[in-house]
């Protein structure tokens, strides 16, 4: 069971843990990304996430398939939230469950890094002074 989704509602990570549960798994690992209150010294009040949702979903699904091939992870889920998030809100959750711990720990790291590098998702940060900025927008090509 692998599942990837872009969601517009708060992420229920406990439900995701239940989703990957399987009697053959002895290890479950999870990563949660949350909105931080500062970015490069600027005070952040919130982030507006947007996505090319169909492609982000297919890209994240492909990444889960790669994690299965590399680490043998048969039970994994990823959700990335879009919309307006406040400081402390969960923007991404990755959960993987495997028979032993090494595979799920390594798989979660791989899934998070690949998603950040490849999924077409963007964030518009809002700062306390009222300004806003697309994160990474000045970096040109990937």
């Amino acid at each position: 069971m692998i599942r990837a989704a872009v969601v517009a509602h708060p992420i229920d990570f406990a439900a995701m843990v239940s989703e990957v549960a399987h009697e053959g798994n002895g290890a479950t690992s999870m990563f949660l990304g949350t909105v931080r209150s500062d970015h490069d010294g600027k005070d952040v009040t919130g982030i507006e996430y947007s996505a090319y949702e169909e492609m982000a979903t297919s890209e994240m699904t492909a990444i889960l398939g790669e994690a299965r091939a590399r680490f043998g992870v048969e039970h994994a889920a990823i959700e990335h939230r879009v919309g307006s998030l406040d400081v402390g809100d969960i923007s991404i959750a990755v959960v993987a469950a495997t028979p032993h711990r090494d595979a799920c720990l390594n798989a979660v790291r791989f899934i998070v890094e690949a998603t950040k590098a490849r999924a077409p998702i963007w964030k518009l940060e809002h700062y306390v002074d009222g300004s806003r900025e697309w994160v990474n927008a000045g970096s040109g090509n990937r």
Binding site: M55, K116, P120, W122
Partner: protein, 80 residues
């Protein structure tokens, strides 16, 4: 042939739109789309080689297009 171009995030802000339709000659590639997009007001601030996806998969500038394709210009991603 007609293709649909999708713009997101900072690129949508630069060009003041999220979508446009383009009529292209048969045999056109992603490069043709980029050339057309560069004629739009605001396009001078696009990077020299923006990432592009065709039908929801990353593509090359030389990728050939077909009638009805969905071509997306992908700004630097920042998920997580």
């Amino acid at each position: 042939m007609t293709v649909t171009v999708l713009l997101f995030a900072s690129y949508a802000d630069l060009l003041g739109r999220t979508t446009l339709g383009l009529d292209l000659p048969a045999g056109a590639t992603v490069e043709h789309v980029l050339s057309e997009v560069r004629l739009l007001p605001g396009a001078s601030l696009l990077p020299p080689s923006p990432l592009v996806a065709v039908n929801r998969s990353y593509a090359l500038r030389t990728t050939m297009l077909s009638e009805g394709d969905e071509v997306a210009l992908i700004p630097p991603v920042a998920g997580g």
